[in-house]
Symmetry: C2
Subunit: 153 residues, 2 copies
Amino acid sequence: MTEIDRIDRKILKFLQQDGRISTVDLAEKVGLSPTSTSDRVKRLQREGFIAGFGARLDPHRLGLELLVFVEVSLDKTTPDVFEKFAEAVRRAPEVLECHMVAGGFDYLVKTRVADMAAYRHFLGEILLALPGVKETRTYAVMEEVKSDGILPV
Amino acid sequence: MTEIDRIDRKILKFLQQDGRISTVDLAEKVGLSPTSTSDRVKRLQREGFIAGFGARLDPHRLGLELLVFVEVSLDKTTPDVFEKFAEAVRRAPEVLECHMVAGGFDYLVKTRVADMAAYRHFLGEILLALPGVKETRTYAVMEEVKSDGILPV
DNA sequence: GTTGAAAATCTAGGTTT
DNA sequence: AAACCTAGATTTTCAAC
């Protein structure tokens, strides 16, 4: 039920790299027949190892030239600031990721925007406008050394 | 050549959410025939808007329970520390992302590991073992508020 | 951008080890 | 239980419009 063998891991590795590989080609790579390969892929989906499939877009090609990380500290006097902040962030399309962290600040926000002007707008009009936001520190990305996000399977 | 219209944006949006949607279903959603939809998808790939397709795996289902961000500061006395560091990071499978940032530190590293023990091993044996690493600050993620990474198209 | 037929792929059933 | 094979159904591709 929850066991996952060497072949399953190979399947996951190849599907991460190419989510549209045909069952025939995938079967060839993992050394099984197309039918059993397809059965395994379905099982990996059904059991939640594969959450879904998606196209990887090139942000720069789409005019989103600036990647920015923002550290956010909240004013913890109101009880529901965290819930309010999380809700707003989930609705903001500029926010690609947002994580509550343990340490010096409360949330780490990853955002992509067209340019610095767009970021200033996002910071001033959206992020700082949220209730409870006490302090932010902005880190603009100069070079994306690695950004595939491929999980080690 | 580089123009991208409303229908292209719809295609990109749907393909981000479901990279394995059939051409027929995608055509239905964007209001075009399957053939022209397929032509557009091919063009969007050829012109670099779509970098590729991939399976989205569930890290928790794979036993990677801990998401950690690490701020890394380098000792900038040696000229090629940056290149050496970048090279090593690209080879490390635990590192999902690594960005050179402007601000208080040099690199922001995103990593997923099984548990705290695995993270301590990664930090001690891999990250701190790299030449030129002067200082690190670790932020363990307590809650992933948003992590889809869907680009606003 | 559309239509319609040929080719490739995927799916489902039954068979073997 | 897992892998496999064959045939029917879908989907994709490629021509002509």
